[in-house]
């Protein structure tokens, strides 16, 4: 069965620190990969996605993620976080050919201290 694992459940950083959130998935076939962000009290918004081409994907607000197929990973990065990045971050995967069903990680709660 497909699954998504996010290694860090809670991350606390100071402003200007660098961020890397881990995401690994288990699925043997071709996948589409997503990172969503949920700011406090708000709905989920797409940060970035990968479905083909350059494995280094750039998203909104200075975020990027790298798809490493051999490691089944899609880690999210940001070189310098801001207080406004405080949010829940969710990694999700769907399998090509079954694009309707997203498999979600449990989320990582990021708190950035000013």
């Amino acid at each position: 069965a497909q699954s998504v694992s996010q290694h860090n459940h809670h991350v606390i950083l100071s402003e200007a620190a660098s961020l890397e959130l881990g995401c690994n998935y288990s699925y043997g076939g071709t996948v589409n990969l997503f990172w969503y962000v949920q700011y406090p009290g708000q709905h989920l918004q797409l940060l970035l996605k990968y479905f083909s081409g350059d494995p280094l994907v750039k998203g909104i607000k200075g975020f990027e993620a790298e798809f490493i197929k051999s490691k089944f990973s899609f880690n999210l990065r940001k070189p310098s976080v801001q207080w406004s990045d405080t949010a829940e971050y969710f990694c999700a995967v769907n399998a090509r050919g079954n694009n309707r069903k997203l498999i979600w990680g449990l989320g990582t709660s990021l708190a950035v201290n000013p």
């Binding site: 709905h43 918004q45 996605k49 479905f51 829940e88 694009n99 309707r100 979600w104 989320g107 709660s109």
Partner: protein
């Protein structure tokens, strides 16, 4: 020009009552979803409709009944509400075959069962 809208935003009700949540999308998407997010932020897919046809029906009590009058609307009716139904319910939509089927989320409905 909200893309995915839900009503109501907040719903407080007594155990045993029946309630409905409405969702509308103006993105022209052919697929809509209902998710439940619990207090630990875990996201669980409940249902998905494609062109008014039910395509995903996860293990959800049959007190929950989705209804899609047309492809732009997906409503969720809940009978005999229980304490454990308290959660945030998110509606989402996507277009199969476009952009890796990115799902766009509504603002959520926070349901509190007393």
């Amino acid at each position: 020009d909200t893309a995915v809208s839900q009503t109501p935003k907040y719903l407080v009700t007594q155990m045993g009552n029946d309630k409905s949540i409405k969702c509308e999308q103006n993105l022209g998407h052919d697929t809509m979803y209902w998710y439940k997010q619990d207090s630990k932020k875990f996201l669980k897919i409940m249902f998905s409709y494609n062109n008014k046809e039910l395509i995903i029906n996860e293990t959800v009590p049959n007190r929950f009944s989705p209804k899609s009058p047309d492809k732009a609307h997906l409503n969720l009716h809940i009978n005999s509400l229980e304490l454990g139904d308290s959660a945030v319910y998110f509606c989402a939509s996507s277009q199969v075959g476009r952009g890796a089927d990115t799902q766009y989320f509504g603002p959520g409905t926070r349901l509190t069962v007393l």
